[in-house]
Amino acid sequence: MMEHDENLNAWRKGVSADEDCLSLEMLQGLVEGVPPGTPAAAHLAGCPRCQAELAMLRSFELPPSGANDQAAVEWITARLQHAEYVPSPAARIPWWGTWMTIPRLSGAVAATVMVGLALSLYVSNRQERPLFTPTSENENMRSTDIRLTVPSGDLDQAPGEFRWEASPLAKSYSIQLLEVDGTEYWNGQSAKNFLTTSRELKAKMHPGKTLLWKVTALDASGKPIASSGRGRFRVLATN
């Protein structure tokens, strides 16, 4: 069994990424045509993983083939056109927002709000009531609700675990590892406020590569209720 695993791992590792593999930017250059004889072209010739990555990149640029695919793709793109992932300007400006474009009126509104706030604070303190009463779990998600503990900064070796401060209402946590440009690199889940780093995950933490990480607390239904800011760490390159 061990020999079987060892054999399987050797084949897998043989066709997986290593530190010499080309970046997507370099692969994009190869799509556009890089003259043979360059170091990038030489690496590509002997690297099954970069060839597969290049094939995927080319595939991404291909148009749909076949009538069925064409129809399905049109249906999906129609859904995307109406999706709300890019907020529409009109939808994002509330009715009272237009008042704020009138300088004198916005000043008056701001002054009224300030007086109102001061009054309400005064009354609240007098009555010894809490200033903020949560109305529901989901309304209180803030990006800094969860404080990340480890890992952080430059490390001599890949971290053995990820740890953060527990969120009282969380049933589970989603952990994301991100590239420095914010692209998701890996994700996982944990029922506790830590995650032990698997061997596979450690293998993704290439020496010298800066990674960001983020935790989102989820309720019993899997809805996000709190999240952390982004932590940053790097496993130092070995000499």
Partner: protein
């Protein structure tokens, strides 16, 4: 007040120009419209990619929407080191692979005994001739590179390194032969068995 760029004029702008205008007016309504136009141009690519992964338009639409949302959220950090479509590809690729693994859409590779149980054995029974894991991996890489044809190499790598199921590889690479990726994998396995025998005899 009229906008600086008439909406019709956007079609003549390149992706790079749209991104530059987005950054210049970050968070302004006009910049969001630039982002809308930018994403609209690439919806088809994302949709096709997601369809290749799921083979189901409803799930593909959900995945595509998640990818576009993620890309939009990170658009302010995109600095144009690559083409926009390459950057979008990196997000789509990672998101689909991660989602597939997290939701177990991708069956475990061990579930395909045809391929998994019969991969040529690189290990040695003789302890004195045993070589380290890293050397085995290097040998595997060299054998795959030198023995297989391009499509065989790509299918082999996508299946073993990226853990993509064969039907996803079929759709992703538009393989139109009768048995699709499976045929390439079987052919690759046969060639590698022969190459491993020769490699072991020389060792």
């Amino acid at each position: 007040m009229a906008g600086i760029i008439p909406q019709m004029g956007w079609e003549s702008l390149s992706d790079e120009e749209l991104i530059a205008r987005y950054h210049a007016g970050a968070k302004e309504p006009r910049s969001r419209e630039c982002a809308n136009e930018l994403f609209r141009r690439h919806h088809v690519k994302v949709a096709r990619w997601c369809l290749a992964f799921t083979n189901d338009r409803e799930s593909a639409a959900d995945l595509a929407q998640e990818i576009c949302a993620k890309a939009y959220q990170n658009l302010s950090s995109f600095r144009g080191k690559s083409k926009f479509s390459t950057w979008l590809f990196s997000i789509a690729r990672n998101h689909c692979l991660n989602s597939a693994r997290a939701r177990s859409i991708v069956p475990a590779m061990e579930s395909d005994p045809l391929v998994m149980d019969s991969l040529p054995d690189l290990t040695s029974q003789d302890p004195s001739a045993a070589i380290e894991g890293q050397q085995l991996a290097e040998a595997a890489r060299r054998l795959v590179s030198e023995t297989l044809e391009e499509t065989e190499r790509v299918v082999f790598t996508l299946h073993f390194a990226e853990e993509l199921p064969l039907d996803v590889i079929d759709r992703m690479l538009n393989l139109t032969n009768a048995s699709g990726a499976k045929a390439y994998l079987v052919s690759a396995k046969r060639k590698l068995e022969r190459a491993v025998r020769i490699w072991k005899a020389r060792a």
